[in-house]
């Protein structure tokens, strides 16, 4: 897919996670919900990989699967070590996974529930350090102070509890916790969407700065296209558990190819004159039922054809660095 194999950090192949749908008195299994359905993508070393979609599209699940917080039902997660062969994270036992845990961390959306209110900042930020190995107290404290300095918090605040901090400061603490082990990969799950607008920009800048300073590879999950455009190098759009479009930032924001991406663009607040955009409110859900054999976006698609009902499109390259899962993306846009 991408140019040099060398710079690959992470390769996700056919990742799948499904949940049993139970109902009735005896919890009979009625079927399965595929939260993540056959998702494959490659993340290059040092890039910020954006994952966009609406709530329930599986972007958060994907992030958690990569970190092995959730166990996938199928697929591979290939981790490219600097020297040596790639390791398949899905095949590792919990114990063997432990050394890799130090190399991959997570930043959460909710700055309130992601910090244990009963722990001091020192305990929170130091948790990944403590989990790895025994560490002398002096080094432990010094590294926490370093991490706090990194996110522009005063190390003196180490002994305070999270309730002493505002939302933005709490998010900084969360970032310090994620970076204290000097990880290679960070999954940032909507890190700014719960923050005030004036604080969002600070956190975005901080993330960007730290990413380039530490040469971090980052998977950035968001629902806001303008944030994605600002920070990400590659954009992947997810819809109902599947990737519908993966492209370089410039390509994606110049010409979004998938009808769903187009819909996301239409929905960006303040972009279009709303009054001229009435088709959206009218045909928003003619048919809520999904098309099991065909394209998942069928019921909401503006350009749907007979073929879309029968056959599910696969992700294919339409130009270098631009992959779309749509039968008619070229014809319909007149390209």
């Amino acid at each position: 897919m991408f140019a040099e194999e060398k710079s690959i950090q992470l390769k996700i192949e056919h990742l799948t996670k499904s949940y049993a749908l139970k109902s009735g008195f005896f919890d009979r299994q009625k079927g399965t919900i595929k939260a993540v359905d056959d998702v494959s993508f490659t993340v290059r070393n040092g890039e910020i990989f954006g994952l966009v979609g609406e709530s329930g599209c599986g972007k958060t699940t994907t992030g958690r699967l990569i970190l092995r917080v959730l166990e996938p039902n199928g697929g591979d997660i290939m981790w490219y070590n600097n020297p040596g062969e790639p390791v398949n994270l899905c095949r590792l036992s919990n114990k063997k996974m432990r050394p890799f845990r130090q190399k991959m961390q997570m930043i959460f959306q909710d700055p309130y529930s992601s910090l244990d209110p009963r722990m001091t900042v020192m305990q929170i930020v130091g948790e990944p350090l403590r989990a790895g190995r025994k560490i002398p107290m002096r080094e432990y404290k010094a590294r926490i102070a370093d991490a706090l300095n990194f996110v522009r918090l005063h190390p003196e605040m180490m002994n305070r509890y999270p309730h002493a901090f505002s939302g933005g400061q709490r998010q900084r603490i969360g970032i310090a916790r994620a970076l204290i082990t000097k990880p290679d990969l960070v999954v940032a799950d909507e890190p700014v969407s719960a923050l005030d607008v004036s604080v969002q920009a600070q956190i975005l800048n901080l993330l960007q700065e730290l990413q380039s300073a530490l040469n971090l590879t980052m998977i950035f999950i968001a629902h806001d296209l303008s944030v994605i455009r600002h920070i990400c190098d590659t954009v992947a759009v997810m819809y109902l558990g599947r990737l519908v479009e993966v492209a370089d930032r410039t390509l994606f924001f110049q010409t979004p190819r998938h009808p769903y991406s187009e819909m996301l663009f239409d929905a960006v607040p303040g972009l279009k004159n709303r009054k001229a955009n009435e088709h959206m409110s009218k045909n928003f859900m003619n048919d809520e039922t999904l098309c099991p054999s065909g394209c998942l976006f069928f019921s909401r698609c503006r350009y749907k054809q007979a073929l879309c009902r029968e056959q599910a499109p696969t992700l294919k390259a339409v130009s270098p660095g631009h992959n779309v899962a749509c039968h008619f993306d070229l014809e319909l846009k007149g390209i």
Binding site: S166, G168, D196, V197, Q200, S226, A267, P269, E278, M285
Partner: protein, 335 residues
């Protein structure tokens, strides 16, 4: 703008909360007016008092209380109602709620009862206020559900809130709020909990209904972009005070107050050329308990005049087409 067209007038409103550590002023010296059939946007970050202000219009400000100020409602063909003098729990204000001024909230699930079907709840609202008989009520319910674009309204009326998606629930709330043809609709962050595409649909729907019914809308949001293309006039609040008020276009293209300017710069935009770094506003919104002296924004302001901004509250002044509360402009006037 002539006096005849005014629907609601708020003058020098001050709302306080009694707390453990003393009295907290949530809203201070807020004055604005809403013209018949206009759309007003009210924007601000957390703790700016926008929600409290809007609730006070319906006397739902508890546990806070109106310390000072006037809220006058001018219903067409009826004498003026002094809302601030009504008892919050008595009959008088209840007839105004829903019928004259209605409100929709951020989380529709909390305002819809879980134990009653959609049809019953919408019907209840209609019957209570319009005193219609059973048959008319039923017809009106179906009518109002259809008017908000819900497919198969007869079927939806039999559903329960948990069976609907967030977007559909918000549509039901809008149907309920508009069922009595109010003169003013207060929308308190109605789309914040929704997905971007759903948000766009709800916004379109509100606009469409507004045009069809000719009511005024007070749209409260933390996201400037959401209402940029919708509102005629935008009120920006910061820490309990209005700091700027202008027509939507004026606010966007020629913002006056340093806060508004910084806020607009700090938002990543989908169309503007990419910046390496977002410009930020230093610090965070202080807790309302620790409101700064003088201009509440001065600790974060890059253009503050020391000795003035940190001592005295800036008065509202007319600057070009905006009304601003900033010493930069009041000083210019005086010189």
């Amino acid at each position: 703008m002539d006096q005849k067209n005014i629907l609601l007038k708020v003058e020098n409103l001050k709302i306080q909360f009694k707390q453990r550590h003393g009295i907290v002023t949530a809203v201070e010296d807020v004055s604005f007016q809403i013209q018949k059939g206009s759309i007003i946007g009210m924007v601000g970050e957390s703790g700016c008092g926008k929600s409290v202000t809007s609730r006070a219009l319906l006397r739902l400000e508890a546990p806070g209380y109106i310390e000072r100020g006037k809220i006058s409602y001018y219903p067409p063909n009826r004498p003026v109602v002094k809302i601030d003098q009504l008892a919050p729990r008595k009959e008088k204000i209840r007839t105004i709620r829903w019928r004259d001024i209605s409100m929709i909230f951020q989380e529709p699930m909390t305002s819809l009862g879980a134990m009653h079907s959609i049809g019953n709840q919408v019907g209840e609202a209609i019957r209570l206020h319009l005193r219609t008989d059973k048959k008319t009520t039923k017809r009106k319910v179906i009518e109002s559900l259809r008017s908000v674009g819900l497919p198969r309204p007869e079927y939806i009326a039999k559903q329960y809130p948990h069976q609907l998606s967030g977007g559909m629930r918000q549509r039901v709330m809008i149907a309920m709020a508009l069922s009595c043809n109010p003169n003013l609709l207060i929308a308190d962050e109605p789309t914040t909990a929704l997905d971007v595409t759903t948000e766009a649909q709800i916004l379109d729907l509100l606009l469409e209904r507004q045009q069809a019914l000719g009511m005024a809308v007070l749209y409260i949001t933390h996201n400037l972009a959401v209402i940029s293309k919708v509102a005629e006039k935008i009120i920006v609040m910061y820490l309990g005070r209005i700091i700027e008020e202008a027509a939507s276009d004026v606010l966007f293209y020629a913002p006056k107050h340093p806060y508004t300017r910084a806020l607009l710069r700090a938002m990543p935009k989908i169309t503007a050329p990419l910046q390496k770094k977002l410009s930020t506003i230093a610090g965070e919104v202080p807790d309302p308990i620790h409101r700064p002296f003088g201009c509440t924004f001065h600790p974060r302001c890059t253009e503050k005049i020391s000795g003035l901004c940190d001592r005295t509250v800036p008065p509202y002044v007319q600057a070009d087409d905006s009304i601003v509360a900033c010493h930069l402009f009041s000083k210019l006037k005086n010189d």
